[in-house]
Symmetry: C2
Subunit: 353 residues, 2 copies
């Protein structure tokens, strides 16, 4: 019989074993796939952090477990800056605010020669680095309030679609941590509702949280100012962002914000700095199985190294003090060593290392 493959002279008789071998090979591939799926956290090295996360999920989702948690009570909270994406050398939202200054000054020319706007407009990074907290607050108020909610959302969406991190020349939204994205997916696959609980701006993070983390806007808890309801000339209502702080979602503000916005205590919480301490304490103070974890940035090569815990360089951006490290060790929180626990840091496979 002539082969149906013109240039391939194989008889049907000899083709069968080939197909059988192919089938065996395919089953092997499927087997490998199944194996890959069996590891829900492939970017994590085997170690105490990965083990603790998997054990917590088992302890809370197995109906036979004494610490089983009903699906509706499965709440997981993630700090954002330094926990789920890069926050050095400066918080992404602060970069947004600094880059918005020219547009704000264009609308209010009287600010042109007024500090701190004058310094920001100069582009002098050294001078900008010396701005005080009070100066920074003025910049945040000028760039985050005074416009409608819809205008702000549109501005952030436009900026975040193209703004890049100076070190990697990649979009900020590409500099999320692959291991944390895997944890979020793993928790959701096990019935957990995942929340961002950030010191950053709630309205800012909500613009991209669904696309970047798979977390919808209503599951973003963040620092938030009030809004003011009003009407335009045609009588159409709109909300204006006001310079009035409603929730300072940092430190004790995190458990307060969690109670306010969610009304349930987390089962598992992730942070990376002193601003997350109270959220982790509050999480661990609940009954049953609870887990608190802190990302330690000890990987200058692949990302950054800062503490000052464990002798790492000091920083004002996402400070991880030795006191926090000691509290973690004493109370059974898990330290995630970026260097040792993470096989890879960022989602793309095209990393230079």
């Amino acid at each position: 019989m002539k082969s149906i493959f013109p240039s391939c002279h194989v008889s049907r008789h000899s083709l069968l074993p080939t197909l059988a071998a192919l089938a065996a090979l395919l089953s092997l591939i499927h087997f490998t796939d199944a194996n890959a799926q069996a590891d829900p956290l492939p970017s994590w090295n085997d170690g105490p952090a990965k083990q603790a996360i998997i054990e917590l999920v088992k302890a809370t989702t197995n109906r036979a477990s004494p610490t089983f948690v009903a699906p509706e009570e499965r709440i997981a909270t993630f700090d954002q800056d330094g926990t789920t994406w890069v926050s050095h050398p400066m918080y992404t939202q602060v970069m947004y605010c600094l880059e918005r200054v020219p547009a704000v000054v264009a609308k209010k020319p009287e600010l042109k020669n007024v500090e701190p706007f004058k310094t920001v407009l100069s582009g002098n990074r050294e001078a900008m680095a010396k701005l005080s907290m009070k100066d920074l607050e003025k910049i945040l108020v000028a760039t985050l309030t005074g416009m409608t909610v819809d205008e702000f959302t549109a501005e952030v969406a436009k900026w975040i679609a193209t703004a890049k991190h100076p070190r990697w020349d990649r979009l900020y939204t590409e500099l999320t941590y692959q291991p944390m994205l895997e944890v979020m997916q793993y928790l959701r696959a096990n019935g957990y509702k995942t929340y961002i609980v950030t010191g950053g701006g709630q309205d800012f993070v909500r613009v991209y949280s669904e696309r970047v983390y798979g977390i919808p806007p209503e599951q973003v808890v963040g620092t938030a100012g009030g809004t003011k309801y009003g009407y335009d000339k045609s009588g159409k209502p709109f909300l204006t962002k006001e310079p009035k702080l409603l929730l300072n979602d940092n430190n004790a503000g995190k458990p307060e914000g969690i109670h306010f916005m969610i009304g349930r205590r987390p089962i598992i919480a992730f942070g990376n700095s002193t601003g997350d301490r109270q959220m982790l304490e509050y999480t661990k103070a609940g009954d049953g199985a609870r887990l608190a974890l802190l990302v330690l940035h000890d990987d200058a090569q692949r990302e950054y190294a800062y503490g000052p815990a464990q002798g790492l360089p000091d920083t004002k951006v996402g400070t991880f003090t030795q006191a926090l490290y000691d509290e973690a060790k004493k109370t059974g929180w898990i330290i995630i060593s970026m260097k040792n626990d993470w096989k890879k840091v960022f989602p793309s496979t095209s990393e230079p290392w």
Copy 2:
């Protein structure tokens, strides 16, 4: 052959037609069930309100519809008092606060002879009805703040499990509106996320919202005070309810609260009083298909009659002004007439009418 049923002398031969008849009967029952399921709002009379709700759902969930809405954007908001349960002669939460006064005074005996506590302790309903808003505020502060979040939740859970409405001698939680429960279920079955957006206390409603409405605590937006994070002697953290208003979820506070807590504009919103006006305006100001509805209490026999819209008796509890009625008519909001649109009011079948 001897029957396996000792006292039932039926041969296998004669049993078969019986089984066939039974099967036919069962299929008939299934058919009836399927028919019942075909009407998602069985407690609603056919009319413009029922029709508008069903049309809105079709317009937003049919992929071929030009006003199709992605599932994650399907947000439905419900005012509570007077919209999803009885709020006359007085709001349920105010009844709770009044009934808590003796316990508060027992802990703080110095309040015993101080107004307005003295009047409340007297039990004189006429005198209590004359208390000013300032007096009422003092009672709310004394009974809703100053305790831990967990203590408050436990107290409300205990009270709401037994507290009854004086007119019907039924639990307050049984005096929800069956037609509105059906709307909630219908919307959820069509991918909508249902929220309570109440002028009442967020922490109060969260205690029973899941059980009574199928709405989890994180989907309750309400008037909320701040909490304060602290530690007990053993170092265990807890949150104390503070007399500091964070969100006054009434009037313009409703769209502000919706933006703060949800971050999305509702597709459909239900209210019953002037306190809901801005929520309905905000809902209707969105693009595409949107629906705003107001329950009009025009049914003194089965529930209550109050307005003063349409010449109904005036009230301070859930006021529905003629101006609100006129705005509704002018802008295409739907008025739900309790008397004409609802076949039944309450869930139980043991209603006295």
